[in-house]
Symmetry: C2
Subunit: 450 residues, 2 copies
Amino acid sequence: MPPKFQAPTGTRDLYPREAAQRRYITEAWRSTSAVHGFEEVDGPTFEHLDLYTVKSGEGIVSELFSFQRFGGEKTYALRPEFTPTLARLFAARANALPRPTKWFSVGPYFRAERPQRGRLREFLQWNADLIGDGSPAADAEIIGVCVGLMERLGLTPAHVRVRTSNRLLIRDLSIHCGLPEEKADAWLGYLDGESKRSDAENTAYLVHRGVPLHVRENFNALLERIKTLKDPSTFSMEDFGIRLDTVDRHREMLTILRSMGILAWCQPPIDLRVVRGLAYYTGMVFEVHEATGAERAIAGGGRYDNLVELFGGPPTPAVGFGMGDVVLSLVLGDHGLMPGDEALAELAGLRPRVFVVSNGTPEADAAVPSVVAALRCSTPGHPGVHARRSYKATKNVGKLLQEAAASRAMFAVIVESGSHATVKDLRTGAQDAAPRPLSEAVTALRATAS
Amino acid sequence: MPPKFQAPTGTRDLYPREAAQRRYITEAWRSTSAVHGFEEVDGPTFEHLDLYTVKSGEGIVSELFSFQRFGGEKTYALRPEFTPTLARLFAARANALPRPTKWFSVGPYFRAERPQRGRLREFLQWNADLIGDGSPAADAEIIGVCVGLMERLGLTPAHVRVRTSNRLLIRDLSIHCGLPEEKADAWLGYLDGESKRSDAENTAYLVHRGVPLHVRENFNALLERIKTLKDPSTFSMEDFGIRLDTVDRHREMLTILRSMGILAWCQPPIDLRVVRGLAYYTGMVFEVHEATGAERAIAGGGRYDNLVELFGGPPTPAVGFGMGDVVLSLVLGDHGLMPGDEALAELAGLRPRVFVVSNGTPEADAAVPSVVAALRCSTPGHPGVHARRSYKATKNVGKLLQEAAASRAMFAVIVESGSHATVKDLRTGAQDAAPRPLSEAVTALRATAS
């Protein structure tokens, strides 16, 4: 095939197997959202470029699929994330929407990165956001729905870790460590990229931005001290030798996570090296990682209390996260938690219930389409039965029954004439002693799936 | 809000109500596909532009969202249709795939048209294709799954019409009417746009392309004659005064549609004014329209026997169709067939089962998050229960129970202390005579939804 007919770099062709795996994940996203009381919303797949340049920061903008359409004048971007769209949606109807509003969405997102393990240029993402409640309980609820998804897919604290942090807490502690207040953004930017730079680059980064090097020394010493706490989830202000509201706030969230029974997922319960790159986060941030650190982040999010106002709404606290399908699939695969093809087909309703076979007479051949159609038929009281037939030219009933069994159908119906048929249960081998009227066979088989 | 923060022209912001309506349609698409034995596939949301310029024809290319990414070199297009991607997918694995292969897909598509009723720049589309079988039975099966979807949504032949046609039959009949063979493409192009042009434009179109005007006269006379047939679904070659394989073939398809019980949807059963704009169709084509002609086409498709080969596969017959969500939603709305908000919420699992209320004591307040989490918790044997709680500051149990009822929850659980709770059935008003242990209440409520 000429290369020009291949899928673009970093995108995926999904055959039935991969599509069923993706469906398994999106169904888990949706049902978890519903159980936790989130309602679905969505926005356009592409947006005006301005939506992302305003507040997401360079981390997003440098990876944007931004473009002008040939023959068009406006500048668009394929959406790299959902949060700006969500803030716009809420801002536009802020007066009519309840506090909190709990929304989720599932759809395709795009980043023009170099493709590598866990990173594609097109991927699916699940977003869940709680808007209009600024409490630590709201932070905990967002972490809770994220953990709920992992539970549903069979993941445990042995497989994955939730790393919670708080930008305000980092900021306050860093000021306590000697950080000049006006250098806070530079310092957070430093922490976000620290693990990706060499030691020399890291030092140059700080010097270049005028952040005193003793801030790093003191901050690292503080992190070491946190590690020595007996139970970091119950740390007190005194443990830090300082009095800070942000310490209280984070501990309150951890207390709620404990009462929700999910503190075991957050070990250690505070990880102040997590900063999150996006510029709009204003408080609690968190990431979910494979426990051994084998893959990229599975999910990430945090509190963004200024974004709704930025898009024209009233001041509104908000917290949420995003989870992509690519790393999640890798982690499920790594731990043998992706169901096999047959189980996935069953979940998606793709296992046939009935396979319709002709006995080879012209009358039976002619009746097959009507039997298949009658089985599949959807009525207000019945969704229809998944029915298949052979497309082979053979008239050998034995071979056709083999094909029926290979399709994993539960029943075969052998059409014996224009008016009668024999039903065979392919799971037990039991078969009608004598042919019965076609309509009776259809009714009986539809009743097995109502 | 500044205009730059609005959704791009022709795209949609979907709030929970619109998202639930869209979900109702996509679920019907998926379950109909499964019942008819189609497996899911998908491709990238954007493709190399070449994929569309090769064979889809000008009808598609002029409406493409094509672009080069800022800073990139390759030329892409947001996908306007699925068929070229599908042909590529099949061609790449043609040797390993069964004959026929039956695939469906659901996803976003894009056309840079002027937005108007029934036409948006971004929309969802369902595709179903049967690849590797060139028989009239395959044509009938594709029409069958399309009709199956309409049935499932409550539509009837009184609401919508399937207009079937065949490009080869039109071509053969037109040659019989005096069309020079080498003018066949020009003539089909004429027919496709005939209803959108004025009489003078139509005549100029034919003259400009060297199509003799008597072809149109003879063809129109032939169509009038077809209308006078007693039963156009059983027309014979003699009815046309000619012998044509294509006549036989279309009649055979209609015979199968009759035996499937869906010929009532195809009235008249042959409509030779339907041509379909896309250049790759090679035989049977069809469109679905609102019966009164009130809206644009709901769905359209046909046979494309050369496309797989064009993308590097072996010669492979194929037939399929696409159905968008925009016109379908309008038609459902026109006929009062879109379920109400409460019914949609129920279908999507968004009706809460349990609303958790505190009796106002500090111990009960502190226990609420754990009760909510225990209800929602997903285990291998249980998907979790949709549970909510109040975010209001009030401690008034009566007001909280009102909020529970307003949420349409089926049960309320009133947490009475750190260890006990009272369960109330909000549908009947029945309530526990005395508080029971929290764990017992949670187990009982989870059992109502397992």
